[in-house]
Amino acid sequence: MPILMDSERISRSLTRIAHEIVERNRGVGDLALVGVRTRGVPIARRLAASLREITGVEVATGALDITLYRDDLMKTAVGPQPIVRRTEIPFSIDDRHIVLVDDVLYTGRTIRAALDALIDFGRPKTIQLVVLVDRGHRELPIKADYVGKNVPTSRRETIHVRLAEIDGRDDVTLDQAEGERA
Amino acid sequence: MRLLLKGAHVIDPASGVDGARDVLIEDGRIALVDVAIPPSETGHTVVVELGPSLVVCPGFIDMHVHLREPGYEHKETVATGAAAAVAGGFTAVACMPNTNPVNDSASVTRFILKQAAEAGLARVYPIGAVSKGSDGKELAEMADMREAGCVAYSDDGRPVATALLMRRALEYAGMLGLPVIDHCEDKTLAGEGVAHEGFNASQLGLRGIPSACEDVMVERDIVLAAMTGSHAHIAHLSTAGALRAVRAAKARGVRVTCEVAPHHFILSDERLLAPLAYDTNLKMNPPLRHAVDRDALVEGLSDGTVDAIATDHAPHHADDKRVEFDRASFGIVGLETAVSLSLDRLVHAGVISLARLVELLSTNPARILRVPGGRLQAGDPADLTILAPELNVTVAAAAFRSKSRNTPFDGWPLRGGVAATVVGGRALFVNPGVPQVAGLGRA
């Protein structure tokens, strides 16, 4: 179970990404962060904190549950349904630069669903994508704008992102597993 | 033509026989019941070695069946009903008059008897209607129907509508020496009910039929039987309260008798919930009652309060049952399951003896209806039911001789079955699973 990122490395990556966001958008004026549930949400909050430190501005932050937009939702006739959780975007996304935040970028299907979901909330000026880890193997033409770490993987491997807010500790590990996440 | 049944356990409560005996049948009649009858030297005698594991009893009589003919031949006919009877161990059945037309006249009675004679299976005793069309208003021609062959009167399917009509019917039937059989249900209390009123029906949202609707009517009939001195018979008694009333009335010397149906002494209303909720094969009238009622019936069977086991055999086409519960027809078939159910749940369960079972299924029904049989008496027609009490059987509705399959007991494994049914000396049913009776089939 090799550790790819420890707490400090995660923290440094997010700080760097926060700077890149400010640089690319020339400030945070029309910016809002939207974390993809589950682990995109605390990452978005951490980015918001960094952005506040850098710019002194409180960036609006929301949470997006993409379950109802998944393309694999009804493919299996038998089996449990993924739990639907609340989406909380307590601000208008119209004409804003939306920074979508997720933990791992893999096939791209989650992000596809997130884009569909976001667009149902309004018409943002741009949508940019932050991921903590990009592990490759894209199945859709999707690319992250900000990446914490690129990790070459095989499909048989699994990336586990743990965050203190949810898992009690921070780290990213690479596991040899029977691949349970798409 | 002689038939000698050897070595069986013979039970005849009427004569007090309960042990190893041989039974000799000559020309369709019982010639002799005795210990070790030697085969006659003259003439041809078929000897069938039954052995001690089989029980020979006077033929069973189901005093409450619905044969549906005339009028509902898609459900059952006299012939298919009589075939179901012999397959179930019954040598005779008494059929209720709620046909179409109602058996409220000698011509319908004669028609039923003609159909029964043509079938040549179980004996069929028609029960005539109390009122014309069983509509509860005017008395039917009771004397005329007795002349034609009716053995009792009933408006079954419905109660005898009013106290006045019941009084008149008892008085008139008393003159004729026949009983009035009443389906005891106060319709105003029963309303649109489809299941026993109580917690279980309430959970299922089914309209209730309270026990009181039976209790009230049984009490009425007892009062009127006492007043008229005539014989009232309570059909398919189902409640603890009605049983108490009958027990007390009998103690006072009132001429009242009663029957219970196997489903009422075996099942209770929690079955409506599971394993199959809203199973329309559990819909009958009276409904499956509370477990307390069921237990009371079992006690009544054991202590002698209950006179007879009768099936209330009520065949219905699958279309009448494959519908919403409240739209389904009331009733289940019983002829081909009653004996095994009774052996398993009463005799093997230790509730009653085999001799008591014979009383309930043969001796008493014959006495109540005043028909031949119910005993093994030299000179009587040789109507015999031969039981295999240790035979393991599985109820198979698909194999029923009845036209209908509406039973909640399908697939039930039971201990005890019918080995053979002999009517007038002829073996009309021989169970292929019982090798000892194979010789009867050839007799």
Partner: protein, 317 residues
């Protein structure tokens, strides 16, 4: 996987009686997420895209049918409405024949309202499609029970330990049964009140306190729920007059004052003002009657979503 995925054990929702407390919580939690969908500018998600839902209504019901229809559309399902007046039922087709005909069109879910108790059980045994009971006779109306619980939970933050008074015709009410089963399973204390002629036999065994005193039922209640009184019941001799019913059991402002100060007033609709409830109460600040309607859509979306995954009983969450 168990914390990220969950399911109902059966393919159908026939009644609350069949649900476990965790299944009930799953539906209510999912409904919370669904409620947010209804607050969006585009009130529609693609979750049931390509799924066919048939609404089979043998009894007229504007409210429930509309609520299901909105829920289905918000989940992007294809919906088909069959009402008794426009179906072959008038020609006497049996429920099973109708079911087999509908089944031939491969629906994923059938939502049925029917006058016979247990009719949804019959349908569920006949069809591969999942069956959602939208009210069967006097038996159950599970989505109503769920939306009532959702509404209480939304206002009170919990169900456990609350006192809920239910007043009205309990005998004929499927809403009563679903609410009693649900609230009892979730640990609420239910008081049931009405004339003894309108109480089902064995009501005490249902886990409720039964009383004919509306004051006793309402006293210190957290929620007061009225059940509809139908005029036919008076004609059926269950009580002498609507006027007398209102006098003895009607929910008046004076009676509401016996409940907790923050008690909520509920009614599954349609209401008979001046019979079971005074207008001042129905329209008063404590009334959540319109919230119930809004929550109905969210709860039905949750039920449809959770059942649309289909499946057998083997892999219970």
């Amino acid at each position: 996987m168990s914390d990220n995925a969950a399911r109902l054990r059966g393919k159908d929702l026939l009644g609350i009686a069949d649900l476990t407390p965790s299944e009930i919580s799953l539906i209510l939690d999912t409904a919370e997420a669904m409620k947010e969908v209804s607050a969006r500018p585009i009130k529609k998600v693609p979750a049931l895209r390509g799924k066919t839902v048939i609404n089979l209504f043998y009894e007229p019901s504007t409210r429930t049918r509309t609520s299901f229809e909105v829920a289905e559309k918000r989940l992007s399902a294809d919906t088909l409405n069959i009402a008794i007046a426009t179906s072959s039922v008038v020609k006497g087709e049996t429920l099973i024949d109708t079911a087999l005909n509908l089944e031939a069109m491969s629906p994923d879910l059938i939502v049925m309202r029917h006058a016979s108790s247990g009719s949804c059980h019959l349908l569920a045994r006949t069809c591969r499609a999942g069956i959602v009971n939208a009210g069967d006779g006097m038996h159950e109306h599970p989505t109503q029970g769920l939306l009532d619980a959702f509404t209480i939970r939304e206002r009170k933050g919990r169900l456990q330990g609350l006192k809920v008074a239910i007043v009205g015709d309990m005998l004929h009410s499927r809403v009563f049964r679903s609410n009693v089963y649900l609230l009892a399973k979730m640990g609420a204390e239910v008081w049931a009140c009405g004339p003894p002629t309108l109480m089902p036999a064995g009501i005490e065994q249902m886990g409720v306190h039964a009383t004919t005193s509306v004051e006793e039922a309402v006293k210190d209640a957290d929620a007061v729920m009225m059940l509809r009184i139908q005029l036919e019941r008076m004609e059926g001799g269950f009580f002498p007059s609507l006027r007398e019913y209102f006098q003895v059991f009607g929910m008046t402002p004076e009676r509401v004052r016996l409940a907790k100060p923050d008690a909520i007033i509920m009614h599954p609709g349609p209401m008979n003002r001046g019979v079971e409830i005074a207008s001042e109460v129905a329209d008063g600040p404590a009334s959540v009657i319109l919230d119930q309607v809004a929550n109905g859509v969210a709860v039905r979306m949750a039920v449809l979503y959770l059942l649309a995954g289909g499946g057998d009983d083997e892999t219970a969450a």
